[in-house]
């Protein structure tokens, strides 16, 4: 497949949406927003994971190094950041369960006869109620996280 080479050969300009295509066109469906958020939180979580490994690995240099590395992150601003990381993590996990199920063809049902008004499987009850269920679970988990962080700094 040499579709990128073709561009050079014919000197034709592709009208690509590029990275802006993650957010997409002006009018989007719900899954497109979830797709965008899943990607952005995924990249963010990998960066956080690397940071997390570097910080917690200070444990092997003894108690002193551990205390120093944790004194850096032990302030309210870092914990507000942590709250957003946790929100991203919860979204990524909850949406990930939906993606694993849907991408292997579960919860989607069978193809139907194309009779007007056309049915879109992603807009039928099954997937939409599943999204609702996932939103509820995510909200509960996020409340717990918020409560724990408030416990440290406010109460």
């Amino acid at each position: 497949m040499g579709f990128a080479k073709r561009e050079k050969k014919y000197k034709s300009k592709y009208n690509m949406t590029g990275t802006l295509g993650w957010i997409g066109n002006l009018r989007m469906n719900m899954e497109r927003y979830l797709y965008f958020l899943h990607r952005v939180t995924g990249i963010g979580l990998v960066l956080y994971l690397i940071l997390h490994i570097l910080v917690t690995s200070s444990r092997m240099y003894g108690e002193g190094a551990y205390e120093i590395s944790h004194s850096i992150i032990n302030n309210p601003i870092a914990d507000i950041g942590l709250f957003f990381v946790m929100a991203g993590l919860i979204f990524h996990g909850v949406n990930g369960i939906r993606l694993i199920l849907n991408e292997y063809g579960f919860l989607l049902g069978k193809p139907t006869k194309p009779v007007y008004p056309y049915r879109q499987v992603l807009k039928t009850r099954g997937p939409r109620y599943f999204i609702l269920l996932m939103i509820i679970i995510g909200a509960i988990l996020l409340l717990i996280v918020g409560y724990e962080l408030l416990l440290v700094w406010v109460f």
Partner: protein, 111 residues
């Protein structure tokens, strides 16, 4: 390796991470564990990491998170890089970063 195997690993690990992360985070809640601030203190952490159960948990979690994350990054990069040769080079770079991080993350668990 077939792409479907790679994605299968990613999905299975994704499902595993959900359970492992819940275990990991429940240690820092005041409902189950000692609470966020207590759970991070030196004494609690060294006590926790002395038991083989938590060693296992964190080894699995580290492996699962890194693999899942780097396969995801690889998938995003492959959308931008279409050349097969460049893809191989990028794969190797990701492998190296992955192994370095895995070893560095494993060191405090082993020691």
């Amino acid at each position: 390796m077939k792409e479907s195997y790679i994605r299968f690993i990613q999905y299975v690990l994704g499902a595993a991470i959900v359970i492992l992360i819940l275990l990991h985070l429940s240690l820092f809640t005041s409902f189950i564990g000692p609470g966020y601030e207590e759970g991070l203190s030196w004494e609690t952490v060294s006590q926790r990491m002395a038991s083989p159960f938590y060693d296992m948990l964190y080894t699995l979690l580290l492996f699962a998170l890194l693999t899942h994350g780097f396969i995801g990054i690889r998938n995003i990069i492959f959308e931008y890089v279409t050349n097969q040769r460049t893809r191989v080079i990028i794969s190797w770079t990701i492998w190296i970063v992955y192994i370095i991080l895995l070893i560095y993350g494993m060191l405090p668990i082993i020691s």
